[in-house]
Symmetry: C2
Subunit: 753 residues, 2 copies
């Protein structure tokens, strides 16, 4: 972290602009670029590298080739030295880019809602990525080894829909473009992976996408390190991302990009759409930092494409350069004009988030020389893009053959990798989970959680994760593995740093990379407040991330109210498609992990204690699977005098109170209510068997907000909880002062029965 | 934002280290430092600037002065040229610093809980700030013009408690130090402004404090620009902050610091405790970015103090330099050793968050030559610090006299400023709020909100705020004011940029600066997820921030589920000490603002619509003040057949269904439930008058999670809401498909009555 008074080399070359002007680019620069081995996918024409190396004519139009796309395609990276070719006749590129622009314009116009500005400005990047650079199979959007693309500036989703449409994805047909932002369409207002195959992650909330991209690149690096062999790079893809000024301002993006720099994720290539416009107008009013300098500080390689509107070769060269930098992620700052082509609205906030309007659409058609009807894709553009279906199938077939070879040689690794990309859990994995008896020693559920994490990592190849600088408090270290660091990416302990929001979003990227990946991440439960933006996207985008949240109540003691969650259980119970689990002991912790692993399309939040808890009689993994279940009962006929309901660390208090009441002759049922969501999903019969409607004498106890408990205890019940902030003192003292005690349960129960 | 290939001047001098070694500091450097007009507070000895300028002897011990503190004190910045003096005999400084260290060690040891590492490493900075630099009055911690100090690394709070104790604050007596982290003490585990006068803000959750500090510095700049006169700088203080590696990793810190750089907040001076240790060990495992370079990108001035352990003069020089830089905030990177002085635990994570243990405490006493009993403050140290009580009183008295002069000359400004620092709202301010009749045009509550904001800004001098780049969507612009920019800080429209978390934390800083400041901030309601960390601190720290949250439901339409809040109302209803308000029309919006303004120690969240709503008969400001109230009723004897309950945009649907039911002869009551918290606070009689226990036929409708509604509607009621994520389509379509309709209310009511 030391700085010196003289600039470092990287400072000196910081954000070296790639200008569109041949006269100020030295030939040696260009030569060095074309020496790189990694390059662009398609180079159907004769190599243009010699032209480029000569430093001349690099923006002049090339003579049109015969339109024979089938023979012109070289769909794979087979050549030892790939060349920096302009993929097709230049005017066709221009036409394709304008097709993208007008598909976006037309769809937004038809919906009278949406964001045309970004697609119009980013169409050149989009075209080059999807038509020339990226390796994918349109007919199998889930092909494991595909390059990933993330539109972090998700509002510009018509860019991606247009590209998926041109590339031949079945998810975005012409009728889908025409039903943009309409009920039931596959083209919603922001990209959603679960609606539109070809979309990798769900974006729109700014900054999430670039952090997802970090996750995708991180896991690629991990899997490559684990499974690649000297004779077979079976895992080998890039992650591309487009992010805008809004993403750049978000803290989550900085967090994730800082980690990406730390880990040196060289196959992450992010395009910063530097258009100087955000919703409120020119970025001058709020955002005047030097993004380049910040990213240099974060350890990224930075390239500046000055002319992102028409400098296609500059974009190509930047990608080439980015690929050549193996040890750092690259930020390609592409200066564009938002709404490029619109004569009256370009470069203004008015083109950001509204339809252009019929008049301006006409003016834009005129300005860009676009004579076509709305939604029209010119035949030559269609023909040109049509090769991707064949090329993509060939790419996947080639990879499948490669994998078959790999499988022969490396049986064990192949089986693991297969389980990761197929999402099939190994048979009997759940037997690895520990079980406990009441005689097992008392322990904190955070420690019991660590036993589960370590047990699962042994049997689940896709299981990995870490903590936001609290590994030793959250107890999340996998003991048989080392740290995932720049030079040891094959390890499974990820050190996220104090970056909760970035951590959550990175885990979403990992989970959505391949169905067999099961990322977990950890911090104190109260700091879910820092990462809730990412956690909600886990829930929405069906990312089965496991959130290991320790220090789950006032039971953490002296750290005080800033660190003591109160309303957090309720806040997640209210969130759709997420499992809030609060286990009471070892068996329930194991049960919570079983549930979390099984629910691959639903994230889980595990609330775990800092303090020791006894192993309670009656708890079980099977019980947890029901969400709420009876752990002890001395009633008969499903007619207890009172039902005591607890969760997590307070289940013990309910059990103690029950002992007392039973001594006094009462028929008492104790129910563990570990997950409200799972209980909701049980049959009416089961629910009645646990909480009979006829028994209104119910007492709940939980060291958190009572908000919502009326649903469980009914109007006649009593909820013991905490509806104010916590306090700084030893845990036992706070429990007592706040009335979270067995005595309180006893007293409440006596009032009711 | 342009970068060039040659380093800029600021790059060239980036993080110029201030070393403790006189031989490598040029005399011209030192001379330039001592030319600054703003300087250190105390320079009781004869000026040492000539010694320093000579470039020699700048670390040798000075001869001890006679201990006559009363005559030695020059408590004010009266001298035209202040000097860089070592405040006291050097060994006394050392002794004072060790006193701070051992008070922290002893308190943590007694509590057997806490964080000794930071106070031991940062004691030198702490001493210099509180003993030599900062202007404050220990006997009036709320003196308006005091310098503000924020310990962003709040876990190190024993540093601040020790300093407050030495400085003579009544809030931290010896017995308070001895009850560190105990029940009922004024020295909780993390600093809490509402527990400990002298603590400005509540910190602990990392990154919040530096963002609060940005808020404090921002509002100082604003008030200075509005109220200072050529002949009277009536507002004039610095904001100091200490932040650690953890804070630096948090996105919220980057967001706030980016805005601070944009606004050029020159009186913000942040010390980065660069100790290379976080909880999980060396920062090398997760945090290897160049913080200096990042902050240079953010537009800050950067200074590096290489030896923060004993380089006291270097720290002093850095502060002097920072003060001389008027147009940029300064980051002083101070390289320290965590746990400095502990022979076996210094520079390791083990000293971060645990007591040293008796043996290591002994070893540290020996190592630092500390012969005293626990909690002992040596007499000479006590005597030395004792001057602050007198000096502080003098500072305040001087300022009061200055203000009296100001008041004579600038009556109107003085009255405004007084209302800001006394927190007295101008009489009759609430009359400015607009009212509406059912004939007033239908409008979105976001627009009605803008009418309120503009009305309030006219009558409340401390009212200001802005949006996270959504001013034109949130409708938050104050039309009679311009933008608060670097060169126009007197304006009241703050452009926060797309930095929700930073925005919330900055507003906490503003709110806690002076009791008459009423900051508001805005984004889409769903993005409260991004800023929940700051919002919870608003609630905990009693910061009356107004959160203007528009686009509050599926009613926002096409932007889809990523932008549609579902669980957010419930999530805030569960949070202690925050008001969740969802007004239904113009009168209720005005009522919500009245409540929000009145509640200066409780933040408010206003959920507002994007879509138009009619002005409903029966709504009122007075009704809103009750939280829940009847807007229409055709029953008698407090025995309606059914009670229909709605909030916000769905109140209209309840009213429509009531009309239908009444046509069918039913006695129907319609209740607006704008704030659950306020309703909870009403008398039992009032509650019974609105929701009579005998009437179990209740239907609620709200376009959000039904979680929690059982409390209002009881076991016999029906809650109409949304317990899944939203969808992308025109709003009316989604409402219909999701069954959020008057018809659904009607059907549910018919089932119940």
């Amino acid at each position: 972290m030391a700085s010196t008074s003289s600039p470092t080399l990287s400072q000196a070359v910081l954000a070296r602009p790639i200008s569109g002007n041949a006269s100020n680019s030295s030939s040696s620069d260009r030569v060095s670029l074309s020496l790189s081995l990694s390059g662009l996918k398609f180079s159907p024409l004769s190599s243009s590298s010699s032209r480029r190396a000569s430093g001349s004519a690099h923006r002049r139009r090339l003579p049109a080739p015969a339109p024979t796309p089938s023979s012109a395609v070289r769909p794979i990276r087979a050549a030892a030295v790939e060349t920096l070719g302009t993929a097709t006749e230049a005017s066709l590129v221009e036409k394709s880019i304008n097709t993208i622009r007008f598909l976006a314009i037309d769809a937004v116009e038809k919906a009278n809602s949406g964001h045309p500005g970004l697609p119009m400005g980013c169409a050149p990047m989009g075209h080059i990525l999807y038509d020339e650079v990226m390796r994918y199979n349109p007919k199998n959007p889930y092909w494991f080894n595909r390059d990933r693309f993330v539109l972090s500036a998700g509002h510009g989703c018509m860019l991606q829909y247009a590209l998926l449409h041109l590339a031949g994805y079945d998810s975005v047909k012409e009728e889908d473009l025409k039903s943009f932002r309409q009920w039931g369409s596959r083209t919603p207002g922001h990209p959603e992976n679960f609606e539109t195959p070809g979309v990798e992650v769900t974006t729109g909330p700014l900054g999430q996408g670039i952090a997802n991209a970090v996750g995708l690149a991180l896991i690629e690096r991990h899997l490559a390190a684990r499974y690649n062999k000297p004779d077979s790079e079976i895992v080998d893809h890039y992650t591309y991302c487009i992010l805008g000024d809004g993403c750049q301002m978000e803290g989550v993006a900085n967090e994730a990009c800082s980690l990406a720099g730390h880990l040196g994720l060289g196959k992450l290539i992010a395009f910063y759409d530097d258009n100087h416009i955000s919703i409120d107008g020119d970025t001058e009013i709020a955002f005047t930092e030097s993004v380049d300098t910040r990213f240099e500080g974060l350890g990224w390689h930075i390239i500046w494409v000055k002319n992102g509107n028409t400098g296609y070769d500059d974009i190509r060269a930047a990608i080439k350069e980015a690929k050549a930098v193996k040890d750092k992620p690259t930020l390609i700052k592409v200066t564009t004009t938002i709404g490029y082509g619109s004569p009256n609205k370009a470069n203004s906030y008015s083109v950001h988030g509204s339809a252009l309007g019929a008049k301006e659409v006409d003016a834009t058609r005129k300005n860009l020389g676009w004579p076509y009807e709305p939604f029209h894709v010119p035949e030559d553009v269609k023909t040109h893009w049509s090769r991707h279906v064949r090329a993509g199938a060939a790419l996947e077939a080639e990879w499948n053959a490669k994998f078959a070879e790999y499988e022969k040689k490396y049986k064990e690794e192949a089986a693991e990798l297969k389980s990761i990309f197929k999402g099939e859990l190994p048979a009997g994995w759940e037997k690895a989970l520990p079980t406990y008896t009441p005689e097992s020693p008392a322990d904190a559920t955070r420690n019991l959680s660590q036993q589960c994490l370590n047990a699962l990592a042994k049997v689940l190849p896709g299981f990995l994760g870490g903590s936001a600088d609290l590994a030793s408090s959250n107890m999340t270290l996998l003991k048989m593995f080392g740290d995932f660091q720049k030079d040891t990416p094959e390890e499974r302990n990820v050190r996220f740093g104090v970056r909760e929001h970035g951590m959550g979003a990175i885990c979403n990227g990992i989970a959505l990379h391949s169905p067999g990946l099961i990322p977990y991440c950890a911090t104190f439960f109260v700091f879910t407040d820092y990462m809730r933006g990412a956690m909600r996207i886990s829930a929405l985008s069906e990312s089965g991330v496991i959130y290991v949240m320790t220090h789950d109540s006032i039971g953490l003691g002296e750290d005080g109210p800033t660190h003591q969650p109160i309303e957090h259980l309720a806040s997640f119970r209210a969130m759709p498609n997420i499992l809030m689990l609060r286990p009471a002991d070892g068996n329930e912790t194991a049960g919570a992990y079983k549930i979390a692993v099984v629910n691959r399309k639903r994230p889980s939040v595990l609330a775990l204690t800092r303090q020791k808890l006894p192993q309670l009689p009656g708890t079980s993994i099977e019980g947890v699977e029901k969400g709420g279940y009876i752990i002890s009962d001395n009633s008969s006929g499903n007619k207890p005098d009172v039902i005591l309901i607890g969760t997590g660390s307070e289940l013990e208090l309910a059990a103690k109170a029950a002992d007392e009441l039973r001594k006094e002759g009462k028929a008492v049922r104790v129910v563990s209510f570990v997950s409200w969501e799972l209980f909701d999903e049980q049959s009416a019969e089961y629910k009645e068997s646990v909480l009979p409607a006829a028994v209104s004498a119910r007492v709940s106890i939980e060291a958190g907000s009572t908000f919502g408990w009326e649903k469980i205890i009914g109007s006649g019940g009593k909820a013991i909880g905490i509806d104010r902030f916590g306090a700084s003192a030893p845990a036992g003292k706070i429990y007592k002062e706040y009335g979270i005690t067995a005595e309180a349960v006893l007293a409440a129960a006596k009032e009711l029965c």
